[in-house]
């Protein structure tokens, strides 16, 4: 096996996360969580921020960790919940709701897929003192599912459906996650992109352009599309 795993630093944190511990999170650090988090994605954001609805429960009292996820879950015959796998959904789509979300809920940690743009970190995350943890894979659904010890509660299941409802989940050794953005707004994906961009011109060298061009929002292969 490659040598990667041995050299990455690993940290175990309790959620809600003590804000003083966020400074320990360097990009590329592996994180496992215990404690409690809640899920929230476009359905929840829209209700609370755009429609001005009161959160179903005071979020700051539950956790400061928001997971961009909808679990593979089912309601069992006894009215309980069975959670199989858990994976994140791509976070960049939710940037527009986050400034108000951070202000309103005291959220300090976002867990998701793919991270946010550098501008989002600079303009939204850094002022809010928030960090971004990315899931790994993507799709370590079974490992993350193992890390969920119980469904503490679920809100708006009726209104939003299983995929968009707000799930409050109790965790034990929930991971692996990687620190994608730290308190300074540094980004692991940005580092990777810079590395890959150095090779791009060489990759295309000698390949003639197609006869018919296409309208597009960028032609620079080094640009990010998120």
């Amino acid at each position: 096996m490659a040598s990667g795993k041995r050299t990455l630093e690993t940290i175990r944190l309790n959620a809600p996360v003590d804000p003083s511990r966020l400074a320990d999170l360097q990009i590329g650090t592996v994180v496992y969580l215990d404690g409690v988090l809640y899920t929230g994605r476009e359905g929840v954001y829209k209700r609370i921020i755009e429609d001005g609805e009161t959160p179903p429960v005071p979020l700051e009292a539950i956790s400061n960790v928001n997971f961009h996820c909808s679990p593979a879950a089912a309601v069992d015959d006894h009215g309980g919940y069975k959670i199989g796998g858990v994976t994140a959904t791509a976070s960049f789509r939710f940037a527009k709701w986050l400034p108000q979300w951070f202000a309103q809920t005291g959220c300090k940690v976002i867990i998701g897929k793919g991270g946010m743009s550098s501008a989002d970190y600079r303009e939204i995350f850094v002022p809010a003192g928030a960090v971004y943890l990315t899931t790994v894979g993507y799709g370590t659904g079974a490992l993350l599912g193992r890390g969920i010890k119980a469904v503490q509660s679920v809100y708006w299941l009726e209104e939003l459906g299983i995929a968009q409802a707000m799930w409050v989940l109790r965790l034990e050794n929930f991971g692996p996650l990687l620190v994608e953005s730290d308190l300074q707004g540094n980004s692991l994906f940005e580092q990777a992109n810079a590395h890959i961009n150095r090779n791009i011109e060489q990759l295309y060298a000698g390949l003639k352009a197609p006869a018919l061009g296409r309208f597009g929002e960028t032609v620079d292969k080094k640009d990010e599309l998120v």
């Binding site: 990667g4 199989g84 490992l143 994906f189 352009a209």
Partner: protein
């Protein structure tokens, strides 16, 4: 006569197999990639995925919580007889999808595109998709289910004959880079390329090439097989690995399927299957036995229509002309 209940049960079992058990060809391919990956973070991701598939098997839980869009590919032997015909078959596949969604459980992903209404069972208008092919001189029925994510990693472009192999390579790179950054395409994956046909068949060919052929399989046409190797190598030379981190693990394999196309065009589609490549197949024999496997064996000679009676047609023309 193949009973509807048997079809429903096999389809239900396939939903479990596909979502929980990573196909061995794919897992072995990723083990090989993890051994060779020099990128520290990319290697960490691959090792985590290998642990994830192990956990899925041990716990009987889905390897990925994004169910993707569960669908069925049906291959019917020309002599197969189904109780209730194909209408009953479709009912059985819909029922199996709904039952398995609750029982695995799978995330109910399927919603109305405008109202976003969710039946909470992955069944709805045109969902699951059911596609058909046929096989001569057979009396069995084969069902394959594929659970593939669908938001990133796919694109289509009309190229022209003069664009040549350069055009194919450029568009391949464009798609890999656009969706590979941040790992949105969930690479490394089996990448399917559709070349030719009309726009819709081009998309279908690329999708089926990605989802219905196994790692290591090569197109029977030696020239196409060589292009498969070249595109695979090209993708792994981008410098990008799992999750878009520096590395070489981008394309686990590349499969190309072609169809005769307009004389002036060369349409191309690119599809990346998931890092959790979820597919499972069952053959239901006429005597009621069911055999499960992970290789769909979808692209037979008959399926590619590359062994039809050309000779006879030409002979016929000569004789009548």
């Amino acid at each position: 006569m193949i009973a509807t209940e048997l079809i429903e049960e096999a389809a239900y079992n396939l939903m479990f197999n596909a979502s929980i058990r990573i196909p061995s060809d794919y897992e072995n391919g990723v083990i090989g990639m993890a051994e060779n990956e020099q990128g520290e973070l990319s290697a960490f991701v691959l090792e985590s995925m290998l642990q994830n598939w192990q956990a899925a098997r041990e716990d009987n839980r889905p390897m990925c919580a994004d169910t993707g869009l569960p669908r069925f590919y049906v291959k019917a032997g020309n002599e197969a007889q189904l109780a209730g015909g194909f209408v009953a078959l479709e009912e059985a596949l819909r029922s199996a999808t709904a039952r398995a969604t609750h029982d695995v459980p799978l995330r109910p992903n399927r919603v109305h595109p405008l109202t976003r209404q969710d039946n909470n069972n992955n069944v709805g208008i045109r969902a699951p998709e059911i596609d058909y092919s046929f096989e001569p001189a057979a009396d069995w029925l084969e069902l394959t289910t594929v659970h593939k994510g669908g938001l990133f990693g796919t694109d289509y472009r009309m190229l022209f004959p003069g664009d040549g192999i350069d055009g194919i390579k450029r568009f391949f790179l464009d798609t890999m880079i656009a969706f590979g950054k941040r790992g949105l395409a969930c690479q490394p994956a089996i990448v399917g390329v559709g070349l030719g046909g009309s726009k819709d068949t081009c998309m279908v060919l690329g999708k089926q090439a990605a989802c219905l052929r196994v790692v290591g399989d090569r197109n029977p046409d030696p020239e196409i097989a060589q292009l498969e190797e070249e595109l695979k190598e090209l993708g792994n030379r981008i410098g990008m690995g799992a999750m878009g981190f520096a590395g070489t693990s981008m394309v686990l394999d590349c499969h190309i399927e072609v169809g005769y196309t307009h004389t002036g065009g060369m349409p191309m589609s690119v599809h990346s299957f998931c890092l959790s490549s979820r597919r499972a197949t069952a053959r239901i024999l006429a005597d009621g036995r069911v055999q499960y496997r992970s290789d769909p064996r979808w692209f037979t000679d008959f399926m590619r229509r590359n062994s039809l009676s050309w000779q006879a047609a030409n002979e016929h023309l000569k004789q009548s002309g």
